[in-house]
């Protein structure tokens, strides 16, 4: 911006620089900066909210008991604080969700980015957006009252419980399809056309170009999308609370009822755990664990997106 100013005033005695400070403009900039800092305050707030009760929690329950035993029941008496059952349940439901969402979401992204004509895109993109806008209580309701009974009918040998990890995981998977699809599509759209044209010029078909050129070129963006989807799935609350249940038994069988970390927080938080009691502090300890896990994944994902932006844009 400064270059034209200099060029316009060769040898002019009068400086074109701002002759007096513009306080109004400065003030506006300060207000805008403060708005941007609200997001930093939010992060700080989350950390502050989590840290103190978590420290208090660990002063009463040892680290060894928390991470070293496999019985979870902070709301029972006598309470048990082995966190592994809810971690395993979280991972299992996330895995089921990813198995659903990655193939479907990635295929949808390839179709929208490489195959669909603009008209077809205009029809399908809103569908994905609507799917992304469906509240998670609705998915939970659908899992509990429709998917589970149907699965019970079709596959009686699975021995599904009324609330189970399988239906919850499937629906969490459906919930994250739009995330995988739209972020992967963004990454594929950022791949320069030259790569595609080069591939066609060498005689590759459309499928080969999509699978061997576009997908590898967009790989970091696709990985970012998947990581973000994993993070979403791990933190999803309402679907798992409704369809996955609150029972925390150390089990790997997806037909069983199992509580994830988020489901536990929801259960303990909506009950009336009195402030300062151990069950109350457990909410924050589990919350810290969930926050650290998702924060780490989000960070990796954000860095990967930055990386592909740097390469192609």
């Amino acid at each position: 911006m400064s270059a034209p100013v200099r060029a316009a005033a060769p040898g002019s005695p009068k400086s074109l620089a701002r002759s007096r400070p513009r306080y109004g403009e400065q003030l506006i900039k300060a207000i805008l900066l403060i708005s941007a800092l609200v997001s930093i305050a939010t992060t700080v707030g989350i950390i502050v909210a989590l840290v103190e009760p978590t420290i208090e929690f660990f002063s009463e329950v040892s680290f060894g008991e928390f991470f070293g035993s496999t019985t979870w029941g902070p709301l029972f008496s006598p309470p048990a604080f082995g966190v592994w059952p809810i971690i395993v349940a979280t991972l299992e439901i996330t895995l089921i969700a990813i198995l659903v969402a990655v193939p479907l979401g990635l295929a949808a992204a390839i179709f929208l980015s490489e195959y669909a004509t603009p008209r077809v895109r205009k029809i399908f993109k809103p569908v994905l957006e609507v799917l992304a806008g469906v509240p998670t209580v609705v998915f939970g309701f659908f899992a509990l009252t429709f998917v589970t009974p149907v699965l019970k009918d079709w596959f009686p040998f699975l021995g599904l419980e009324a609330k189970n990890a399988l239906s919850a995981g499937l629906l969490v998977g459906v919930m994250i399809i739009p995330i995988v699809a739209s972020l992967s599509e963004d990454a594929m759209a950022a791949v320069p056309n030259g790569l595609r044209e080069g591939s066609y010029a060498l005689g590759a078909s459309k499928m080969l170009t999509s699978v061997r050129v576009v997908v590898p070129a967009a790989f970091s963006g696709i990985v970012a999308a998947v990581i973000l989807a994993i993070s979403r799935a791990a933190g999803e609350t309402m679907i798992v609370a409704i369809a996955g249940g609150f029972k925390s038994v150390f089990t790997l069988n997806p037909a069983d009822e199992m509580a994830t970390m988020a489901a536990f927080i929801a259960q303990a938080g909506s009950g009336d755990a009195s402030v300062g009691s151990i069950p109350y502090k457990t909410i924050f300890a589990v919350g810290s664990l969930l926050f650290i896990m998702t924060f780490f994944m989000n960070y990796v994902s954000a860095r990967l997106v930055q990386k592909y932006r740097e390469v192609y844009e």
Binding site: A107, L128, V134, P135, T145, F146, A204
Partner: protein, 296 residues
């Protein structure tokens, strides 16, 4: 490079028509989209069918009850949601749009603090909503002593949707070509005059679309409110920002948690109302985007 290793494709090119594999691949891609579409369709039809018997004016005229599912309604949930959304719009939208203006128009990307802000926003956008509930519970309800009120709920959900507002507003602002700004600056306008009179008006459709989508996320959110004591049965409409409240999604969650079948019908009917509101908002957003999207 991957292409070089597959000379077979050159032979395929020579053969007439598309090989079967190509067709199958295309069909597989299309069918995965179709699965999502069919699934969405099934969900809508199922909910509508389940909830149909209870879709009558009593649904929004009556208060919820956990004793009489035949006459229970969702009025307090609808009013609670309206209060929350109104306040969220008042708080989250201006803050988010101003933050977006700062990041797009003023921030020097090479400065470390601006990088931190950017990374922080994309991080926050993916923090689980239940963690925002913990923030609301620990900081706003307890530490600031706002209690389990409409205000606490609205602040919590504003913080939750803020990253979404910022990210979409930034995209809209970025879509305004630099030549518009340069023209305005060249005519002697200050930076803020340029933003206020040129950039913002040009990006309003995009900002509005993003804002509507962010608010619809806030409407469907249930998990944070679960932490804010909104889960208990509330049989009155909020009277102000310091009143206790419930929201529609939580009302639905409450009904689902009851074991009697009639409550599931009631839940389905409430879901129909919720989805109708959201679909309406989404359609407005999509229409806005298609109608006013400018190709510069």
């Amino acid at each position: 490079m991957a292409v070089l290793s597959t000379p077979k494709s050159a032979v395929e090119l020579a053969s007439k028509g598309r090989p079967l594999k190509e067709h199958l691949f295309r069909v597989a891609l299309l069918s995965s989209l179709a699965i999502a579409l069919i699934f969405l369709g099934m969900l809508l039809i199922y909910v509508l069918e389940e909830g149909w018997p209870r879709l009558s004016p009593t649904l929004w005229e009556n208060m919820p009850s956990i004793r009489r599912p035949e006459t229970a309604g969702i009025q307090s949930g609808i009013f609670g949601t309206l209060w929350i959304i109104g306040l969220t719009a008042l708080m989250a939208l201006p803050t988010g749009i101003l933050a977006a203006v700062y990041l797009e128009e003023y921030a020097d990307r090479t400065r470390w603090y601006n990088k931190v802000i950017e990374l922080n926003i994309s991080n926050l956008a993916a923090v689980p909503s239940i963690v925002y509930g913990i923030l609301g519970l620990g900081i706003i309800a307890r530490w600031l002593q706002f209690g389990f009120t409409v205000m606490t709920g609205a602040i919590t959900v504003s913080l939750l949707v803020l990253p979404i507002v910022i990210i979409s507003a930034r995209e809209a602002i970025r879509a305004v070509p630099p030549s518009i700004r340069e023209g305005s600056l060249a005519l002697g306008a200050t930076q803020w005059q340029t933003i206020w009179r040129q950039v913002l008006p040009a990006s309003i459709p995009g900002i509005a679309t993003g804002s509507i989508l962010a608010l619809s996320r806030a409407i469907g959110e249930a998990a944070p409110f679960l932490m804010l004591g909104a889960a208990t049965l509330v049989r009155f409409n909020p009277e102000g920002v310091w009143s206790s409240f419930t929201v529609l999604p939580l009302q639905i969650y409450n009904f689902i948690s009851q074991s009697r079948e009639e409550f599931h019908v009631l839940a389905a009917a409430a879901i129909v109302i919720l989805l109708a509101i959201l679909l309406l908002m989404n359609s407005v957003a999509i229409w806005l985007r298609n109608r006013y999207q400018k190709r510069w």
